[in-house]
């Protein structure tokens, strides 16, 4: 993840931004009820919806360089998305766990 050149573009609460964008796809109850480290896989969020969320976040946070080609490497959980847009130093992200995802 270190090779991202990210800028959260004034979003002082990246987790709130991530949850808001997720809510636009899957609704408030899921987006605000899911744990920060809970795998999206465990609540059955489809990769198609996550692709939309990531694309929106990339625009919001002006992600300049894409580090990986694997969706699950960046969109495994709320925490991993926060890390992807540059606000993730406070929370650990288990990269290896992405291999469990589908």
């Amino acid at each position: 993840m270190e090779i991202h050149n990210t800028d959260t573009a004034g979003h002082r609460d990246p987790e709130a931004l991530v949850r808001r964008r997720l809510a636009e796809r899957v609704g408030d109850e899921v987006a605000y009820g899911i744990g920060v480290d809970e795998a999206f896989l465990m609540v059955g969020i489809d990769s198609l919806d996550l692709m939309h969320v990531v694309a929106q976040l990339e625009q919001d946070a002006q992600v300049q360089q894409i580090a990986q080609a694997d969706l699950w490497a960046v969109a495994r959980s709320i925490a991993s998305l926060v890390a992807y847009i540059g606000g993730g130093t406070a929370r650990p992200v288990d990269h290896a766990a992405g291999e469990e995802a589908r």
Partner: protein, 487 residues
Amino acid sequence: MSAPAGPNGRGLLDRAAFFGRLRRWAAERPAVAAVIAADGTALSYRGLAAAVAATAAHLRGEGVRPGERVAIPTDNGVASIVTILATAAVGAVPLLFDAGATEQERAQLMRLAETRTCVQPLVAPEPAAWPEPAAPPVSDELALVTSGTNGLPKVVGKHWAAVVDNSIRFAQVARYTGDDRVLCTTPLHHAFAFGVVLVPTLFTGATIVLAPHPPLPSALGSLLAETRATVMQSVPFLYAAALEGMPSHRLPDLRLCVSAGEPLPAAVKAAWREATGASLHDQYGATELGQIAFAAPGSLDDTCRLVPGVRARTRLDGEWSTAEGELFVRVPGPPSRYLGQPGLTEQSYLDGWFRTGDWGTVDGSGRVVVTGRVSRRVVVGGRKVDPAEVESLVRAMAGVRDCVVAVGDDAGYVAFVVAEASVTELGLRRHLAALLSSYKIPRRLHLVAELPRTRTGKIRMGPLWQTLTDRGAASSPPASASEERAR
């Protein structure tokens, strides 16, 4: 085993011919890359032939026997390709399924296939000689999984001769050459990737480039540029999503992009051409048949025409017709069948013609236009979902009284659920996630007081969609028509 005859009486190329070609490339073009994966692993043709031989010997040592069905949890990695080919090389029947399938899904399809053998993808390290051909009679099948419409998945038994013949003919009209690098962005266990990438690319001596699945759309432009892919295989949704990050990429090597799984919107096609310089070509296929029709490069117009060897006709009101109707198709080679569901196989054929479940037209020039779908099957981002499977699992949850899933113009793929007050949308999702692959789980599960019905018991969808409008739920970004549709 003699090769089955095609419609013109000639023998079809089969599994043996496919492996013969693979070994020929290993001898004639040993250093050419056969497979390159996104994680950096790669195999030359010499390396692939050696890996298949070694893994085949390993499988034989583990007790895998000719004719035996071997379930393989498949991902878009080199080891999956090696294991599929090694299983076939020993004369066994590879049964490809999603490596991300839930335990329930895996158990169900293995039950249908009547097998207890499941092999994780591997590349065996010990060198071995190429396996001796299995003595006849040995099954010449492979098996792919697709969604059904009766609550059960379909495990489709296909003959290698039918697959190889269809794949080669597709490669001919798509003008594959040994210099091509074919980027695969959809799951290898689907017929689309198997028939458009795996078989024709290796038969041609070209290079397979495996994108991870699911890919990060914004990374696809870089992947195309870095791998200098000449052919891309994907679905309309991914082409549209990848366009977001495409303008900065110059892709002079890219010559052909194949799209299937759902209708290709004209706007996506035009934007893709504008951004990459490469043209997008629509393809119509089915797991049971392979590539049915293709808008081949260099053809008179950009509509789908029957792939050589494939025949199609329509049926309307119980009669064969020349007008719009249900599409029936025949491909050369032995017909496919549904393992564990012989009655369903019988229902799927009429006088040897396969009932596609699609509605459309076919004219004298072989032009095929698909206009709709006869059954309830839903398509989500190119992936097929059986509503009956989803509804039955939702209804089985404690506190749930009724459920219907549907695709709305604005709301996308959603469920309406009648349940006790203790049931929540998040709770429903956690319950379903343990049983179903994520793509089968509706984007929203709306809790409603009742499912309004007609006097004959049919659910009235109008009031349910109105409920969403009243709630303002439809104010969330609508799913585009190319993502989710009932076909």
